[in-house]
Structures are given as C-alpha cells and as structure tokens.
Symmetry: C2
Subunit: 179 residues, 2 copies
Amino acid sequence: MDRELLLLGLLRRQEMHGYQLHEFINQNLASCVNLKKSTAYFLLDRMAEAGWMVETESQEGNRPPRRVYQLTPAGEAAFQRLLRANLAAHEPARFAGDIGLAFLDALPPAEARDCLLRRRAQLAADLEAAARIPEHAGSMQWVIDHLRHHLASELEWLDRVIAQITTSIESHDHEEEES
Amino acid sequence: MDRELLLLGLLRRQEMHGYQLHEFINQNLASCVNLKKSTAYFLLDRMAEAGWMVETESQEGNRPPRRVYQLTPAGEAAFQRLLRANLAAHEPARFAGDIGLAFLDALPPAEARDCLLRRRAQLAADLEAAARIPEHAGSMQWVIDHLRHHLASELEWLDRVIAQITTSIESHDHEEEES
DNA sequence: TCCTGACTAGTCAATATTGACTAATCAAAA
DNA sequence: TTTTGATTAGTCAATATTGACTAGTCAGGA
C-alpha cells in the first residue's frame, strides 16, 4: 500500500517512466522503502490496470522504447486517500537487528562486544553519510531529518549496550584475578 | 535470514512445535519481526529439509497431533553463524510512515496536522504499552529497552514536526488577518 | 574501427509471504 | 445438553517479491 503511495506521489509531480521511478526511489528514498525494479514494474502495471494511471510508449532517439506513466483523476483520488491513511497511522518499525540481541547471552561477552563494535562502525558511517545528504526541496526534507534523528538515537542506544557489556567483561576479569 | 535465526534461537533453548513458536514470537517479539503462521511453517520445513532440525509427530491426549522441532548440531552451527552475522551488521530500519511525510505539502497544513495528531496518539499509546511490558529474562530485555528507547525518540521527533506545522498554520492565519 | 564495460529499460521464472480455510478441542452460557 | 465462540494446529492456493537474465546504447581507449 505504501509503495503505491510513493509511486503515485512521484508521478503526481511529473510523469515518469518505470526505470526513472525506480532510480529516483533507490537514490533518494532508500530510508523509507526498498523497492526492486521488478516490484516497481509489477505495481505500476497493476495500478494502470486499476485505472489509476495510463501507460504511453515513448521512443526517444533510437534508445529502447520506454513506458511512461501518468496519473489519472482516479489515481489522484487514490493518492489523497492513501496519503491521509499513511499520515494518520503509526506504522511501527521492525528491527531485525534486535533478533541477535535477544540471543546475546549465547556468545562469550568479549565476542559479543566485538560484533557490536563492528555494527557500531557501520551505524556511525551511515550517520555521517546522512549528515552529508544535501538539502531537499519541500517536505522531502522531513524524511532526511527523520533519518538523521533516528540514526543518532540508535547510536546513542547502541553505545549504552556496548558500555554495559564492557562493564560486565571487566567485572568478570576482576573475578578471574581474585580466584 | 533473520527469521531463521529467531526460530533457531528459540528452538535452541527448548524444543517446540510450530504453533507454539509462532505464538511466542507474536506475543514477545513483534517489535523485531512480523512472522505469519504460514511463513513460520514454511521456514521450519525448509530448515528441517536442510538438516538443521528434526521434526517429530507428538500426540498429547487426544488433541490434534503436533510437529515438534528440535535442533541438530548442524542447526546449532547455523545458529552460531547467523547470530554473529546479525550482531555485526547494522540493518537500517525502513520507515514506511516517512512516505506520507515526503508528500506532506500536498495537504492543507491544518489537515496534515490533524492526521499527524492521530498518528501521535497511536505512537503515545504504543509507548505506554511498551512501558508496561514486564521484565524479561536475560538478553531478551535488550529488545524491550530498545523498543522503549526508539518509541520515545520517535515521539520526540514527531512532536517537533507537529510543532513546526502548527507554527506555519499560525503564521498563515496572521497573514489572513492582515489582508 | 572495434572492443570493453557501464548504463538504460524491461522480462520472467523461481521464491517468499500471506489470507482464507479446515478441523478438532474445550469452556461455559442458554 | 447443545450451541456458541475461543483456542489449538496446520494446509494450501493465491499474491507479492526477487534475482538473474536479455538486449540495446553509449563513451572512451587500444
């Protein structure tokens, strides 16, 4: 449903062909959705079927022909409906990374810490990358702000986890010393 | 991949049947994964196929027969490998709710604010629910802590968004007054 | 000029995921 | 007591998603 909203929203600003849509999304909106090319075409075809948009073949030079999609009034109506639904609902995020944490005690603490430090490095890199994203026009900027806020919050939390594990390693070391 | 890790990790503590696994996950680990019953059975069958676990039919009383799964050494090895991979990688979360925000300017500000206030209510309710989750044993507690931290951070951010929209509505009102 | 590797644009068979269903058991109300 | 609704346990056909592929274009170097 949300992916449809995204495609509709982009086509609403200007008509585009499939490849272009997929490209734009993966470049600018990777933090919201992970949309593969084949999925994009599937959704576009289905929405065209539903009368939300019309396809037009377009040959530019002698490049391969491209299917250009443009919104119909029914598509605009669907956009309005989906937009309100999306904004009004809180879709909780799923953290696949928490699955590992749930079984953290299956690993010797020192090794757990090593793994998490590698995770931290990636997270920190992502945060820096997010800090370097240039300003975007209009409300697209909210998405970037959110990404930054979220990554910063994640880093803060991960550091707390690592600190606690480090403490537990140290106290364990002391016990070793004393025995 | 992560879902496999989850099933392996649970079966590692004690053998369980499919329904029980699905039940436990949806009760306690809904913040990490959204695993439907049919998906759970599909994954369990596949992992049994791969030799990571063995199925045993078990009839208790005259209840319907249940398939109980228990880990093999190959399953334990897979668990160790997947656990390290999961812990060492930062899997960025996707926020489907950001798609709506990207098109926020398609709505009159007052209406956008109404929608977001409804989103806020849900988020606040989720946060309160998370605050009431009882303590869990061992490292499962990290998952709950993470959920609480994340929801609090989200609420903080959403409040900032709403505040800014409210400001823009007010300044717009003033312009109306002056004209 | 001809080759190579990257980009453009899209297809399709294989996989993964889900919703809707069956079918039995149990508790408790009518 | 028999009917209703909740719970347990799992199946399967329909949908959704993906990875691997085709096939043309273009730019630049040998």
